[in-house]
């Protein structure tokens, strides 16, 4: 270690920092702080850019924009309530499915259920899936997922159609195919980050649990998971963020329909897909409205993160007894 090179006495094990060390330290800390501030500045800059374009839209449509359901470019009626609903519904579904299976995958791959070499292969395969372009996921959804779930969906509709979540037929793109594909898209992220969190738990913690007579799953559920909780929660945050902002694949699978429906099979809309599908052809009027929608999406992300943070703090408080 270089500190020994600057040690005052040869053969000393420890020594005070030299002048160069001192300045290098100051410089590095300054750079790190600047990097952190840069991120904040980036967010502020993006918000400013979007806000600037959105301002006329906000002025003209106000709060009604958030509660109206019609999207009629020709007459100038805009409303994003169906899009907000679809965003939250699809992202939440995707988080539940993708998050659950992602964490289970992570446990499966780190808790000695598989021989180590096989686990590495598996892990690399799962991480690979994060690299697949969203367009390809969209195509996979259209060509594989939709035909695969159509028969099941229609039989659900026939027999259980009175339950609102099965209330319509699946005629192609819709909420369920989109949520399923979204869940698959965030699974690698959740799994990879959760694996890291679980791997960081010192082995002796697990050994201690076994030593007290815990079964395998008691050790995992009551000891490993709580210790790795912050890391796993971080994984879920990343996954949820990705789900909220996913553009391409959802644009191909959500159906871009402005209907508010509880049904899993009906077409819906999300804010990101709305943006992606309408932005290229949007006239100046529509661009303002779309920027307003973008601000709403960022606002939702912020609110959800605040809520998540509050839940974590509450949970941590309970664990501490």
């Amino acid at each position: 270690m270089s500190v020994l090179e600057h040690a005052r006495h040869p053969g000393a094990v420890a020594g005070a920092p030299s002048t160069w060390d001192f300045f290098a330290d100051r410089a590095f800390r300054g750079i790190a702080k600047a990097a952190a501030a840069l991120i904040l500045a980036l967010l502020a800059f993006i918000l400013w850019q979007i806000g600037r374009k959105a301002a006329p839209g906000i002025r003209d449509y106000g709060f009604g924009f958030l509660t109206s359901t019609s999207w009629d470019v020709g007459r100038g009626h805009f409303g994003i309530l169906p899009a907000i609903w679809g965003t939250l519904y699809s992202s939440f579904l995707a988080l539940v499915m993708g998050g659950f299976f992602g964490i289970v995958m992570a446990i499966f791959l780190t808790q000695d259920f598989l021989p180590p070499r096989l686990a590495v292969v598996f892990r690399t395969t799962v991480e690979l899936l994060a690299a697949i372009p969203s367009v390809v996921y969209g195509l996979w959804g259209i060509f594989v997922v939709v035909p695969a779930i159509r028969p099941m969906a229609n039989s659900f509709y026939e027999h259980l159609g009175w339950i609102p979540i099965f209330g319509t037929t699946l005629s192609g793109p819709g909420l369920l195919p989109a949520s399923l594909v979204l869940a698959i898209m965030i699974l690698p992220t959740v799994a990879a980050v959760s694996q890291d969190a679980l791997r960081q738990v010192p082995y002796r913690v697990k050994e201690a649990a076994y030593g007290m007579g815990a079964t395998r799953w008691e050790a995992i559920l009551k000891v490993m998971l709580p210790t790795a909780a912050t890391g796993i929660f971080g994984a879920l945050v990343l996954g949820f963020g990705r789900a909220l902002g996913e553009t391409m694949a959802l644009a191909m699978l959500i159906g871009n329909s402005n209907q508010l429906s509880l049904s899993l099979f009906s077409p819906a809309n999300t804010l990101a897909a709305l943006l992606a599908l309408n932005f290229p052809e949007a006239g100046p009027r529509e661009v303002q409205v779309l920027m307003y929608a973008a601000l709403v999406l960022l606002g939702i992300t912020l609110l959800v993160n605040i809520a998540g943070g509050a839940i974590m703090t509450l949970a941590a408080r309970n664990v501490r007894r």
Binding site: V73, I142, F143, S171
Partner: protein
């Protein structure tokens, strides 16, 4: 490792040896003519080694925005440009109709080929009024066909597009109810039924059509032709049923005279054998180009497309410009700059 790096650097620097500068033209805009333009530009560049042309399909609106912001050398649009958009470009805009295309109604009904759809029927289908294939009006127009008693699922575009603009313009021209209802636009408020599904881009619509029995939707003819989809014969203003492709498109174009600013619309063409849904698509050029080399290159490009290029049009599913039209356009381009 070091030797590998040096070798790679040497490889990369070989092109430095040649000193010739190529003129690079960039354009963006409509996806309607994308297959044709990419074929034209590629063959033009291979014939003219000193000019290379790039075109990216992002949508007519995005192309117009790029054009106004001067981030491209030319743009393409299915909806030409409105006067207020033209006003935003200092120096003025030269609109050049390059080709034209048709919009076909593709359908997926087992065992039915050559479906004939009268005007009020297809308008009714898209208004959500006619909901089953066994509807008497459809049966009346297709006496020989065995139409199943199936729901009609309408597949529309999810993204805002010039194709929707042209299709809705036509529907508004033939149906008052459509005009008062959804109206005209790159996106419109479609009837709120769960039998109306949306997919993005032509290939999304095609995929959904193929997977959904009893579906009908609108696609560019070129796309439908190469995807081998069943396309309906539509009834034109004179009452004849015309199939897309072939002479129907040229007749439609011949029925409208190009005005001085070269913006012509064909909402409902006259002509006995005219196909009812067709549109020009324009290239947008700056009247004043800062770079004379680029201006010259652009003129060559446009000239090529209007002469050699037209030979490729029919084969690729587009409508070649009638002689009179292409002559007018070439005169207008030569006068620019």
């Amino acid at each position: 490792m070091k030797r590998l790096m040096i070798a790679m650097l040497l490889l990369v620097s070989i092109p430095f040896a040649e000193a010739q500068e190529r003129v690079r033209l960039t354009g963006s805009g409509a996806s309607f003519p994308f297959p044709l333009y990419s074929a034209w530009f590629k063959s033009f560049s291979s014939q003219n080694k000193s000019i290379s042309v790039d075109y990216q399909a992002k949508g007519s609106g995005a192309g117009i925005q790029d054009f106004i912001n001067h981030t491209v050398d030319f743009a393409a649009s299915d909806a030409a440009m409105t006067d207020e958009e033209i006003a935003k470009v200092p120096g003025g805009v030269q609109l050049v109709p390059m080709t034209a295309g048709e919009i076909a109604l593709a359908y997926n009904v087992a065992g039915v080929k050559g479906l004939k759809l009268p005007r009020d029927v297809y308008a009714g289908i898209f208004l959500g009024k006619i909901t089953r294939w066994s509807d008497p009006k459809i049966k009346a127009a297709n006496p020989g066909a065995s139409l199943p008693d199936q729901d009609i699922t309408v597949v529309r575009r999810a993204d805002s597009s010039g194709t929707t603009f042209v299709f809705t313009t036509h529907l508004a021209a033939i149906s008052d109810e459509w005009k008062k209802g959804p109206g005209v636009g790159t996106t419109v408020k479609w009837p709120g039924s769960d039998k109306f599904v949306a997919s993005p881009k032509n290939d999304g619509v095609a995929a959904t059509l193929r997977q959904t029995p009893g579906a009908i939707g609108y696609v560019e003819y070129a796309f439908g032709k190469f995807s081998k989809m069943d396309m309906a014969l539509l009834q034109n203003k004179s009452g004849q049923f015309v199939a897309p492709g072939g002479k129907g498109g040229e007749e439609a174009l011949a029925s409208v005279k190009l005005p001085a600013d070269l913006r012509a619309w064909l909402p409902d063409p006259e002509g006995a054998q005219a196909y009812p849904i067709a549109t020009y698509t324009w290239l947008l050029l700056y009247k004043k180009n800062a770079d004379p080399k680029k201006a010259a290159a652009l003129r060559e490009l446009v000239d090529y497309c209007l002469t050699e290029g037209q030979k490729m049009s029919l084969q690729m599913g587009y409508i070649p410009l009638p002689e009179s039209v292409s002559a007018t356009v070439r005169k207008a381009v030569a006068s620019a700059q």
